[in-house]
Symmetry: C2
Subunit: 499 residues, 2 copies
């Protein structure tokens, strides 16, 4: 369900990367990556094998691993197996599927660097559902056009799975070894809120012991400016159905005195907000803390351009409480979004003159600070019950997986290793960013394994995560692998100095 | 789209007619029908052929003549042809399809009673769309259970087509002649608002010349009490789409500052009503006249039981302006119903964390007095534009066919012939009723052909017109045919006295 992605801001100088500009960008990157020393062997390997790796990537995206649809369960399993096979083929002989109460976790470790630190790399291989009719190319028949790979999960987050594996492949195939020990951990339930992940970590605490952790389920600021996410929102979900009758009714025969479920659910939804666009649910903001000076400072460092950000979606206005800035609203304030609603006759064709007897809506909240998913859902239920119009009744379908908000400190060695690697390859210091997204699993790493998971993913914010026509940039494949390789080597070098 | 049906009230003593009670009812009816003279020959014919006729009826219902879905166009045509063939088989050799700008009209006349009056019988052979998943039996694979025929259109209005044809068949097959001249006129676009019907009447004015008209697209009060509808509401329709972005957005990445199309459309819909449940669109009620003493008297004569009426749908409350009674609201006051609404991710399974970029809703208004469909739609558009939230824009899809409200006088010969026939077969005087439904075509009869079309249909108000699991009672098949036969004979007898 939820996502630990970056920024909501983002303006991309180059939305459609042409072949020639792509080449220039690659050369510039090569130059940056090789200023200090000769071009590392892995870099040549990455370039030489790009076409073959893209083919593999297309294969991986083609498996519809939608975790929220039970019918896709075998596809989810197939995806896990595909990754296990890939890991084995690059020399991670321990690769396997580890069971959870839900979808299995892909695990694989390379531990032939005794005395060296261990790095755990997180990503997820499950994807969001699709609205098939809105895709220009089928979501599970990926195509590569103008330097972009189109397909569900291309960006979120099969790119994370692929890039981290390929970086390790490049080092193993060229050096025959890695500079540190590595543990891969690819989850299959991130898009449904990681309901079994914390429990999985607890059960496998010894196996997963690590010194450092990064998550490849995250984004950069844009194509040329790197970023590290330092806070994410929590999430909680709810589905509810408003019933006004056992059946739809003839709108002439009964219309005028019969409660209308679509009108009732609209009134309920409208009641969830005040005029400023704030959530009107009593108690919703009670545990929300004031925005801190440090948070304001983080925002200040980012060159946010509302017009360019709106251009990504084609929106014409920014909404929400004007006493907060747009980035404050997205990074540090909670939301209540209605993600879908249906009632009555809505087939593409036809006009059915009914008074609808029932209507359904789904809600996702993004949470901050001390807000607790369960508590928030309870407050919403209370609000809906209180605001339910005469003649209507509501039933609820609770969703598993309330994810907590998360922040990571920036004054740690772990942060600086990630930051150094990004600076090296991009030639620029990364922005520190908040995110409106959610990384349900990230907090669990700290709580169970005692390590912060720092963001090291290469998604870009215009790549239509969760939406139709999702894509990933080919150029990010290369850049991402270089960053991972450099990161592993740099971490090994720096940590050996410490010793 | 709209419907010239009866009452919104209705309590049915016998909701599920058992075989034995059905038999008793039939015998009682027979007794009534034969007090004055020996049992007419047609009555025996009707009884003897009931099973064969039910089989034909099932055949007719099985053709999915949904007029509002373009893909069903050939089925609509097939249905028309089926009826033409049936008419020919009973001796209406002139039966044919007459073209309109849309679906053809089935026409057939029997004119071998020179000097005798002509009666035009109206019904419609098109049906409403279906929500397939909600049907216990497939809507176009009719089944007969417990004295009920289940299927889309079984009641509305293929029953009207079938009963009127079978009554004429019974007289022709037994007497070899009809007591009056008869013209059948079965429309194929009633459920989309009869957009071409008035024009058709005008073009075929000479051919359709008649002394009397009845519509078989109407209802009785209940299984044992007859009724004549004396007023119906008009109708107007509108579809609109609210757009907030070119694409759905990740609810974390953009949620908090990005306008949500589902929330926006909910706010728009909520704005359409005031707290009392009245329509809040400015000017909506301007042309609505106060309820008259005669209308109040009509209502007073009807034993309306809210509890029993609510039982039909399983509603728990009656809504709307409490300064009007429920029947006043349904018969004599206008409505604005949202008949369907959809936005965001609403597939049965899955949970897609998006901020929806667009949402759609469909509206049907029922109109009274001097309200004009076009004017009302314009007012609604104005209201929506005015109440459109920041960041949202609205586009409209206008539907053809604004039907006018209609009333028929009760002090005419034409009324008394229908009333007498119903009294004769039911053994009770019919109630005079309003209806919240619409008979777009009915007003046209008066305007073009100069005759009022009186209601003579045998639908019953609990038969789920337009809703899922629509059905028609087998017992009404018999009763309806008897009424039609008696009506034609009675009209001939009375009119010859006049001469």
């Amino acid at each position: 369900m939820t996502k630990s992605k970056c920024l909501s801001l983002i303006f991309l100088a180059v939305v459609s990367v042409s072949a020639s500009t792509q080449l220039l960008a690659q050369k510039a990157t090569k130059k940056n990556a090789t200023t200090k020393s000769a071009m590392p062997l892995y870099e040549k390997y990455i370039d030489d094998n790009m076409d073959a790796h893209l083919k593999e990537f297309v294969e991986l995206i083609a498996i519809p691993s939608i975790s929220s649809i039970p019918a896709n369960k075998t596809d989810v399993a197939k995806t896990g197996e595909w990754i296990v096979n890939k890991l084995k083929s690059i020399g991670i002989s321990t690769a396997q599927l580890l069971p959870t109460a839900g979808n299995p976790v892909v695990y694989g470790s390379w531990d032939k660097a005794p005395g060296k630190p261990t790095v755990l790399i997180y990503a997820h291989y499950d994807v969001q559902p699709v609205k098939e009719s809105e895709w220009e190319n089928p979501p599970f028949a990926p195509v590569i056009k103008n330097g972009k790979i189109f397909g569900r999960g291309a960006s979120d987050d099969k790119s994370g799975v692929m890039i981290s594996m390929l970086a390790v492949e490049a080092m193993l195939k060229t050096d025959g070894r890695l500079p540190v020990n590595v543990k891969f951990l690819f989850e299959g339930e991130e898009e449904i809120g990681s309901p079994n992940f914390k429990n999985f970590l607890e059960k496998n605490k010894e196996l997963l012991k690590t010194d450092f952790a990064v998550t490849a389920d995250d984004a950069q600021y844009n194509d040329s400016i790197p970023a590290i996410t330092t806070s994410s929102r929590g999430a909680a979900q709810l589905e509810f159905t408003v019933k006004t009758a056992n059946t739809d009714a003839h709108s002439g025969q009964f219309g005028g005195k019969t409660p209308n479920a679509v009108v009732a659910i609209s009134q309920i939804i409208a009641s969830l907000y005040d005029k400023a666009g704030n959530v009107a649910v009593e108690g919703f903001y009670h545990k929300v803390l004031p925005i801190t000076a440090a948070q304001k400072e983080t925002i200040k460092m980012v060159p946010y351009d509302p017009a360019k950000d709106m251009e990504i979606l084609g929106t014409t206005a920014e909404v929400g409480d004007p006493t907060f800035s747009p980035l404050e609203r997205v990074w540090y304030r909670p939301t209540l979004e209605v993600i879908g609603m249906q009632g009555g006759y809505t087939a593409a064709e036809g006009h059915s003159n009914i008074v609808p007897g029932n209507a359904m809506a789904r809600i996702t909240c993004r949470l901050v600070n001390n807000q607790d998913g369960k508590e928030i859902i309870d407050l919403i239920v209370k609000h809906i019950n209180k605001n339910c119009p005469v003649g209507a009744s509501v039933t609820y379908k609770f969703k598993p997986g309330y994810a907590s908000p998360n922040t990571t400190p920036t004054d740690t060695k772990a942060f600086s290793y990630v930051s150094d690697a990004l600076s090296k390859i991009y030639g620029k210091q990364p922005f520190k960013l908040g995110t409106g997204g959610t990384g349900g699993a990230m907090l669990s790493f700290k709580e169970v394994l005692g390590v912060y998971a720092y963001s090291l993913g290469f998604l870009l914010p215009d790549e239509k995560w969760h939406a139709s026509n999702e894509f990933f940039r080919v150029s990010s494949m290369r850049k991402g692998q270089l960053v991972y390789c450099y990161y592993l080597q740099h971490l090994a070098d720096e940590e050996s100095k410490v010793k």
